[in-house]
């Protein structure tokens, strides 16, 4: 089997897939769940419950407040304590519903059995409707509402569905474990998405460091129009522009989306959520989360209810090691550092990574020696050294023609810099400023 990969840039950080092969363990509901109203890209959902209300598992507690927004469901049963500001993984305090858990009462409409339901007679429109109702977002971390992606805009056509099983972030194994343990359901979810999208062809892209997952997915897709493609291990292959290019040699245009080249990309976790929503009537109320770290006693893959505090996951994985100095929501390349463990798991939480003292601190920043390594590794063909200089000097209007908005914030430049320069920090700042300039121009 020939391996494919994207053509420009990329790095290969050590993989440290400590929790690979660990069976997914289901955690019981927490005592108190905090369910944020903004777990997706777009407008926060509109809350439907009040303090003192009784809710059941699967009950909608907040409604999509627009097209680019999603419904939020209770992941637990019990009493609403309050609707208030709680810190989420962004580090900011945002509106969330706090629920005192009482028992585990599910809505009767949800099929909780493990029976595999394979054939769906639902028309495409109903599939999309169910996905919208179930509050599904991109589970890889970008949390873009899935029903939006499944609605192909006027004038565009979707030709391929691409399923992202790359998991190129070091440490994370949530998608890997899903592909190993929920293979059939995943495949069914992919077929539902194909129907919802109206495409004939789907490709599952998996990096070659998961040969067992490649093998298993290949067996299950046999005889269908879904193919599995092994990929050479290279970060950031899970970036959708990189993945589309690796699999189909099509370049998503600057400022465009995969649909501009006839492709829609979903994560494997999203495919499973689609299966649950359509076949089991089960909204998105839990997800698989990798809890990992070099000093952690038991790196694990857990299935947990949305709203469970991160501290209880770490507790189940052996507790916080003494040398922990940084906690990351996500992987080491693109994850966010958390100020505390008292933050709930949300729809986009793919992993919790504990980093020890030695690796948590940044090194001293040295002058740029113009080694051009940042230019070589940039998967978007940008010049990070130049963008950083322009941003440092506040020359924002010069950053736009240098394509700063194309930056996918993969961090390959900062990762590779021998002078430990905070390239991506400055580029992000520049992107924010250029974004303002562009919006102001549009407003005129």
């Amino acid at each position: 089997m020939s391996l494919k990969t994207f053509s420009r840039g990329g790095v290969h950080p050590p993989e440290y897939k400590l929790s690979a092969g660990k069976t997914i363990v289901e955690l019981p509901p927490p005592e108190v769940a905090v369910i944020p109203l903004s777990q997706h890209l777009g407008v926060p959902a509109k809350v439907l419950v009040n303090r003192g209300d009784q809710v059941k598992v699967g009950q909608m507690i907040a409604q999509a407040a627009g097209f680019v927004s999603t419904n939020i469901h209770s992941s637990v049963s019990g009493k609403v304590l309050k609707v208030d500001l709680f810190m989420d993984s962004s580090g900011y305090r945002k509106m969330a519903v706090q629920i005192q858990v009482e028992g585990d009462q599910w809505l009767e409409t949800i099929d909780r059995s493990d029976d595999l339901v394979r054939n769906s007679v639902l028309p495409a429109e109903d599939i999309r409707k169910k996905i919208l109702e179930a509050g599904i977002v991109g589970m890889g971390g970008a949390t873009f509402p899935s029903h939006v992606k499944l609605t192909v805009p006027q004038g565009k056509t979707a030709e391929y569905l691409i399923i992202n099983g790359v998991e190129c972030e070091p440490y994370l194994t949530a998608d890997h474990s899903l592909m190993m343990e929920r293979t059939e359901e995943l495949f069914s979810g992919i077929q539902l998405m194909m129907k919802g999208l109206g495409v004939e062809k789907a490709i599952i892209g998996i990096e070659n460091n998961k040969p067992d997952a490649i093998e298993k997915m290949k067996q299950v897709v046999q005889g269908s129009s879904v193919t599995v493609q092994g990929l050479k291990v290279k970060y950031p292959q899970g970036g959708e522009k990189q993945l589309v290019q690796a699999l189909l040699k099509r370049e998503v245009p600057s400022g465009g989306l995969p649909i501009d080249v006839g492709v829609v990309v979903f994560n494997v976790g999203t495919a499973l959520a689609v299966y649950d929503a359509v076949m089991k009537n089960r909204p998105l109320i839990d997800r698989v989360v990798t809890v990992t770290g070099k000093s952690l006693e038991k790196p694990s893959n857990f299935i947990v209810r949305i709203g469970t505090p991160i501290s209880s996951l770490v507790e189940k994985a052996g507790g916080v090691p003494d040398d922990t100095a940084k906690v990351i929501n996500g992987g080491p390349m693109m994850g966010k550092a958390l100020p505390t463990l008292d933050i709930p798991i949300v729809k986009g939480s793919s992993g919790i990574l504990l980093i020890n003292k030695n690796e948590a601190r940044r090194r001293e920043v040295k002058p740029c020696i113009r080694c051009s390594k940042c230019v070589t590794v940039c998967p978007m063909g940008l010049e990070p050294y130049l963008l950083m200089t322009l941003s440092e000097k506040a020359l924002y209007e010069r950053m736009e023609p240098e394509k700063v908005m194309d930056c996918i914030e993969c961090g390959s430049c900062s990762y590779t810099c021998p002078s430990s320069r905070p390239l991506l920090d400055y580029i992000r700042m520049g992107k924010a400023e250029v974004g303002k300039i562009m919006r102001a121009r549009k407003a005129v």
């Binding site: 420009r8 790095v11 950080p13 522009k241 290019q245 370049e251 245009p253 600057s254 400022g255 465009g256 501009d260 916080v320 922990t324 100095a325 940084k326 906690v327 990351i328 080491p332 390349m333 693109m334 994850g335 966010k336 550092a337 100020p339 505390t340 990574l353 980093i355 690796e359 948590a360 601190r361 940044r362 090194r363 040295k366 002058p367 020696i369 113009r370 080694c371 051009s372 390594k373 230019v375 070589t376 998967p379 978007m380 063909g381 010049e383 050294y385 130049l386 394509k403 194309d406 914030e409 961090g411 390959s412 900062s414 990762y415 590779t416 810099c417 021998p418 002078s419 430990s420 920090d425």
Partner: protein
Amino acid sequence: MNKFIVSPSPHAYTGESVPKLMYGVIISLLPALAVSVYYFGIGMIIVTTVSVASAILFEYLIQRYMMKVKPTHLDGSALLTGLLLAFCLPTNIPFWMVMIGALAAVGIGKMTFGGLGNNIFNPALVGRVFLFISFPVAMTAWPEPGQWMQYTDAVTGATPLGLMKEGLAVKTVGEIMPEIPSFLHLLIGKTMGSAGEVSALALLIGMLYMMYRKIISWHIPLTILGTVLVFTGILWLANPDRFADPLFHLLTGGLMLGAIYMATDYVTSPMTGRGMILYGVGIGIVTVLIRVFGAYPEGVQFAILIFNGFTPLINKFVKPKRFGKEVKHG
């Protein structure tokens, strides 16, 4: 409550650092250093030691007392500049001239621009050209290889490029070639020339090591060598009596040292692959023009300095291939 560090992503780093890269280059220079010590003995040892020690000392003194910043004299960069300067000097040059060269290299070449990363011209070449203009006699007397214990008293002779340049005034290439060491001797370094430039083979080994360690890419050295090969090849085919063959040009003078070590200096070379190719072709062409049509027998030092000057312009106009074509949104 736990106190955690919060910083933006990424949270992982390669562990690569400026000293590691610099010492990587220095390691790759060891074969060439060994060959030079073998052929030029004590002279090579004195010149190299003085050059390296002076470069480090001057960097320290300038940073400490003139710029009043934390000295970075041990980051490997000054050591490398000193080593490369020694490599392009004759091994019988008086030690005080070496010190002046090191001062010009570090002081004028590097520190006046603000230190590592800011200089426009390759510091070692600045030092060499400074000495070449200040002390033309000392800088064009080349000890014959194999004199272990001679330093300034070494018996000297002309370099192959010098013999060729002088000879062509009265003779054909065919008549000059017998006076020049065999290609095998040129390859291993048994010839007259600057301390570290004599052995093409040792320098090529160093290049492979640097490529393996991903310290440099193929772009600059291979385009320079390729351009010289093609350009001198065309001249040679046109008139083999007037123009020496391409292999002679590749193996003689400072071409290998320049293409592999001087032109690839991070700070003074372009940032993109295509920019590096443009820069390499330019250096190759100017080197041959000076060697064949100019007043000096060797031109690689000037060619590199000229294109160091073009590097900011190349960086401005030669951009990497961006991902994805632009689309207009309505």
